[in-house]
């Protein structure tokens, strides 16, 4: 018989250097309940759950399971207590099958009986409505299948408290619905589920109770039925926030970049982009939607001169004033020398857009350090620009000489976007510009993009949050497996329609 379990976290404190990630947080988790752990990025949700699942040791505080005080030193201890966590980044071995991954690390002292494993996996699947083929290799699986496997793995190990860290971030709307159905089945079976998220509509849809963290502090919990998104936002941010994006009608549309027949292969010869054609106009925001890894990164990098492009393609750039320029076959140096006013906010902020160990000021000169004839760098202009960016975008930094890797994700992004916009771009490309940012910073970024649109810049916005894409963009190009699966109007398109285009090629594929 399964006992009705409850977990109590009392005054959990965890610090990283000077940063207090959790400040005396108390939380209760009950069986048969779905609890949403809500908070902005950096509010300590994941840290708290990592403490519970044995990855971090707390600096202070106690954990009680069924009223008994326990010490969790490793994920193994957590499993022994029936606590299992499904991380945002899956921990699976690609070359093994599903069944092998499930038994991996169980350290049973006898031979592994895969037949038995299959039977038990099937039992679990039937019980909750999962679909897992135990003999399939992980590298053949889609993201959502891998996630399902992670959940089955945790249940197989006897977990009755499941922690899911932003499970929907990588899923399409349809896959999210499926996941939620499974979660409801598990709840009905008496399991306790904690879902970490910052998407409010999901909180409202799935959870029974919401606990809110803000800057490492526990703000409170409230039954989902008694609250609404606006109230939750105010709790998360600590003050009233308006959740609207100002979308102006595009004006004076001018052709800026026209891509024709763009094909890109990766180092293994696999087509990442397949015959892509579209036009981005100055004065509009063109959204790019798609499942992660559908070619978004390659598309932006191809335009920036960072990808090898297959023959037969053309990328023509038409500046605000002057003659059009062909970008195919050009290196980033060439593109710069041609005077293309291109700004690019890449997905990997510290690995590509910025130098983590350099300070704000040195990062400002990353693209402009060549200016002037002197062999020495000009330090004054970038310092002034850094000062200006820090002030106008409210970058929280101890000083201008703090390495940017020490800043929080949102501030890193503000530095990057601030620098790119300062170059007065005619074309601004952003990849996952608000990923991992808190609500406030996200809206700052949306505002900056809209300002660029209004001054006639062609903005290309690669995003993953469909709600934000539909609210922000004038048109949305949907990528599916490296092909254009359709281009829809941001004002009229439905979320489900975009979700379908993301997984199935639409008739727009040939356009």
């Amino acid at each position: 018989m399964e006992t009705q379990k409850s977990i109590k976290l009392v005054c959990i404190t965890k610090t990283f250097g000077e940063v207090t990630a959790n400040d005396a947080v108390c939380l209760e988790i009950h069986a048969g309940e779905i609890l949403s752990l809500l908070g902005e990025n950096g509010s300590g949700k994941t840290t708290l759950m990592n403490v519970l699942s044995g990855i971090y040791a707390p600096d202070g505080g106690n954990i009680f399971v069924n009223g008994n005080k326990v010490t969790i030193r490793s994920p193994k201890d957590a499993f022994a207590l029936g606590i299992g966590m499904i991380h945002q980044h899956f921990k699976l071995v690609d070359v093994l099958t599903a069944a092998e991954n499930i038994v991996l690390g169980l350290n049973e002292n006898k031979l592994v009986d895969l037949k038995n494993v299959r039977i038990r996996v099937k039992e679990i699947c039937d019980r909750y409505g999962f679909v897992v083929d135990p003999d399939r290799k992980v590298f053949d699986m889609s993201v959502s299948e891998k996630q399902t496997l992670e959940i089955v793995k945790v249940i197989y190990r006897g977990a009755d408290i499941l922690i899911l860290d932003e499970p929907t971030a990588v899923l399409t709307p349809q896959e999210t619905d499926k996941l939620f159905a499974v979660m409801r089945n598990m709840k009905a079976d008496g399991k306790a589920i904690v879902i970490i998220t910052h998407k409010l509509h999901e909180v409202m849809e799935i959870s029974d109770r919401v606990a809110v963290l803000r800057r490492g502090k526990y703000i409170g919990d409230i039954p989902t039925g008694d609250t609404n998104p606006q109230e939750l936002t105010d709790m998360m941010v600590g003050r009233a926030v308006s959740l609207n994006i100002d979308r102006t009608e595009p004006q004076n549309l001018t052709e800026r970049v026209t891509v024709r027949n763009l094909t890109v292969r990766d180092i293994d010869g696999v087509k990442r982009l397949d015959n892509i054609s579209f036009t981005a106009y100055g004065g509009e925001i063109l959204g790019i939607a798609g499942i992660t890894g559908s070619g978004q990164k390659e598309l932006l990098e191809a335009i920036a001169g960072l990808q090898n492009i297959e023959p037969g393609a053309s990328i023509t750039y038409l500046p605000r004033e002057g003659k059009q320029v062909e970008l195919v076959g050009k290196t980033p140096q060439d593109i710069k020398n041609l005077g293309v006013a291109l700004a690019f906010v890449p997905e990997d902020r510290l690995g590509m857009g910025l130098v983590g160990n350099m300070d704000v000021s040195d990062n400002m000169m990353l693209k402009s350090y060549r200016s002037g004839k002197s062999v020495f760098t000009d330090r004054k202009t970038p310092r002034e620009l850094a000062q200006q960016v820090v002030e106008s975008l409210e970058v929280m930094t101890p000083s201008l000489s703090t390495p940017v890797r020490r800043l929080s994700g949102g501030n890193v992004q503000k530095v990057l976007v601030g620098r790119e916009i300062a170059g007065n771009p005619a074309l601004l490309m952003t990849a996952y510009a608000v990923r991992g940012l808190d609500i406030n910073t996200s809206y700052t970024i949306y505002r900056l993009l809209n300002e660029q649109k209004m001054r006639g810049t062609a903005v290309v916005y690669v995003g993953e949050d469909l709600d934000a894409l539909l609210e922000l963009c004038d048109r949305i190009l949907v990528l599916c497996a490296g092909k254009v699966s359709g281009i829809v109007e941001g004002r009229t398109a439905k979320k489900e329609e975009v979700g379908l285009l993301m997984t199935h090629l639409g008739e727009g594929a040939k356009a």
Partner: protein, 369 residues
């Protein structure tokens, strides 16, 4: 479920916000002091001698006479010069462990000038020619692995290491070619009477020119790495090649150029070794200093001024241990142990600078080195 686990006694976590400079140096000095205490215990336990006397002997070994002082300075400058050469390569995260070879080819170039041109070229042009040729030789030796890395992404660690062996074999060939006297299998002191191609005395000191050359390089490299556009490119490439490509930096060009510069400075070190110190060439002209300098460069985090301190400390330890070994008739191993203990503490202190150690029961006190 009742199985109780104890909390671990000690927990180690990374310092995310860095220590203030004075605290970091405090830890380093404390480590040095602690190492001296441990050495004293070891000395007393093993050889039953007064540690203070041993330390005194070490000091005398390095600074006992005017001549010793200048030899210590000369060797410090040599080590410093190599470390300066390695700095740009390592700052670019290019693992140049080929300084030995780069020194040797620079030395071969210098020795060749001294042997073949001593009768035809006058002193000053000869010196300049030797400098130029050793720079070119070292630069080529550094450029080759840079080229292969840039074009075909070969592993630079293996490549530079193998270049060392080529240089050693080349050197063995030239030693045989220039053998003097016949049958000795050494080159012997070159131009012992005329002293052509030797560093001249400056201000009455044999090694003053070494100091001037290396200190000029120290300042020059500091400025180059910190304030020049090329130095900025090196830093960006070292941090992330992706970022460099994104910033329209020609990564291949930077790798090749930086390695040529790195090799060139090591080539100058070869010139110093031959013309400014030993006045001969042998396969042991570099003598492992190309490897020791790696420690110097990394410990100093590529700050050439800090490198002065570290090379001086290493040379001091070296001279001191030779002295105590000979004066007290100690085995070489004892002095090596002492050097080892001191280095262990100094390297170990970096751990306490980068990490903090917390004890379970102590509240939030930070452990000191």
């Amino acid at each position: 479920m009742t199985k109780q686990k104890k909390e671990p006694l000690v927990r180690i976590s990374k310092r995310t916000s860095g220590l203030p400079t004075w605290k970091a140096w405090g830890i380093r000095v404390a480590a040095l002091a602690a190492s001296l205490v441990v050495c004293a215990l070891v000395i007393y336990a093993i050889v039953k001698m007064n540690p203070l006397k041993v330390y005194g002997a070490m000091f005398e070994g390095a600074f006992g006479t005017n001549k010793r002082i200048w030899v210590t300075i000369r060797d410090t400058m040599m080590l410093l010069c190599i470390a300066i050469g390695l700095a740009p390569a390592f700052k670019m995260r290019f693992w140049n462990i080929g300084a030995e070879g780069q020194i040797l080819v620079g030395g071969i170039a210098s020795a060749a000038c001294m042997i073949y041109l001593s009768k035809t070229v006058t002193t000053l042009p000869l010196m300049l020619l030797m400098l130029a040729l050793s720079i070119v030789a070292g630069a080529i030796w550094g450029f080759i692995p840079g080229l292969f890395k840039a074009k075909w992404n070969t592993n630079e660690t293996l490549f530079t290491l193998m270049m060392n062996y080529i240089a050693i074999q080349m050197c063995a060939y030239f030693v045989a070619l220039w053998e003097n006297p016949f049958g000795s299998n050494t080159v012997g002191v070159i131009n012992p009477q005329t002293r052509i191609g030797w560093f001249p005395k400056l201000l009455g000191q044999d090694y003053m020119l070494n100091v001037i050359i290396v200190l000029t390089l120290t300042v020059g490299m500091f400025i180059y790495l910190r304030y020049s556009k090329q130095g900025y490119e090196i830093a960006v490439v070292g941090e992330s090649e992706n970022t460099a490509r994104y910033a329209a930096i020609n990564v291949r060009k930077v790798i090749m150029r930086t390695m040529a510069i790195s090799g060139a400075v090591c080539g100058i070190a070869g010139f110093l070794a031959v013309s400014g110190a030993s006045h001969t060439i042998s396969v042991s002209t570099a003598g492992g200093r190309g490897f020791t300098a790696i420690i110097v460069a990394w410990l100093a985090k590529f700050n050439t001024f800090v490198m002065i301190l570290i090379s001086a400390l290493l040379i001091f330890l070296d001279k001191g241990s030779i002295e105590i070994a000979s004066r007290y008739n100690l085995s070489n191993h004892v002095s090596n142990m002492l050097t080892g203990i001191i280095l262990f503490f100094i390297l170990g202190s970096e751990f306490f600078i980068n990490y903090q150690v917390k004890f379970h029961h102590g509240s939030k006190r930070e452990a000191r080195a």
